[in-house]
């Protein structure tokens, strides 16, 4: 299985994406998945358009991408975290 490139993005690339990044890192480790995690600002997604397999973000995106986009707000509120994790894992295992 090829290594997946996962973009983790928030508005500033500082606060919320850091938390989400940590959560995905743990998840990948637990499941023995080799993931290329890239933490960016949402405005930078365009430069990864050709390489990314998945975008996990706390910011809103108006654009359509060729890879799936998963909303990660639940990592911050604690409400619905399990479902979000499942969604991410499903994409990583594809």
């Amino acid at each position: 299985m090829a290594k997946k490139q996962v973009l983790v993005a928030c508005g500033a690339g500082i606060a919320t994406s850091t938390v989400v990044n940590g959560a995905i890192e743990d998840m990948a480790k637990e499941n023995n998945l080799d993931v290329d995690l890239v933490q960016i600002k949402i405005a930078e997604v365009g430069s990864y358009e050709d390489t990314a397999d998945l975008l996990v973000t706390t910011a809103m995106t108006q654009k359509d991408y060729r890879f799936p986009v998963i909303n990660a707000r639940s990592f911050l509120t604690g409400i619905g975290t399990e479902e979000t994790k499942k969604e991410i894992l499903q994409e990583l295992k594809k």
Binding site: A12, A15, T16, G22, M60, Q62, A72, L76, T77, G78
Partner: protein
């Protein structure tokens, strides 16, 4: 990298404001007066909140975590504002929904990507309805300081790179 600045002076109680802009102005001005952030922090944080809303529908009490780029920050801090009356903030990741926020955690970070453990602990606070409610009801800044110091373990962060 500086140590985190956290004491009663960055805890604001009974913040009176009619809009999120007014909340951010008041909380931001306090940080400017303490010389923790540059003047540019205030317009930057208002603009960022407009572009990327930070309201979180946490259980019990909704919170917001406004933050902006590191170049506006002299020294990192987490400022807490308990609002007199709830103010509408946009919901993070949603361009239409708003939510009445009662506690604002204004983050002034001086380095990108470096505050993971602090942020994770902060998120754990957001997920703890009981802690949020006690912040909301507490009238004493020292008690809030104590409560957060216990939850956020600032000391352990001082040596963190």
């Amino acid at each position: 990298m500086s140590n985190i600045y956290f004491n009663e002076s960055v805890i604001l109680l009974n913040v009176e404001a009619k809009s999120k802009e007014e909340v951010l102005e008041k909380m931001g001005q306090n940080l400017v007066d303490l010389d923790l952030v540059k003047e540019s922090f205030i317009p930057a944080i208002i603009k960022r909140e407009e572009e990327y809303a930070t309201g979180l529908p946490t259980s019990g009490v909704a919170v917001a975590i406004p933050h902006t780029d590191v170049e506006h920050v002299h020294r990192k801090t987490v400022s807490i504002g308990v609002l007199d009356r709830a103010v509408e903030f946009g919901v993070m990741g949603d361009d239409e929904e708003t939510i009445p926020v009662q506690i604002v955690f204004l983050l002034a970070m001086d380095e990108a990507h470096s505050q993971l453990s602090l942020l994770q602990q902060l998120m754990a606070v957001f997920q703890n309805e009981e802690v949020l409610l006690s912040i909301l009801e507490e009238k004493n800044k020292s008690s809030i300081r104590g409560l957060l110091e216990e939850k956020l373990d600032f000391d352990a962060l001082e040596g963190e790179k």
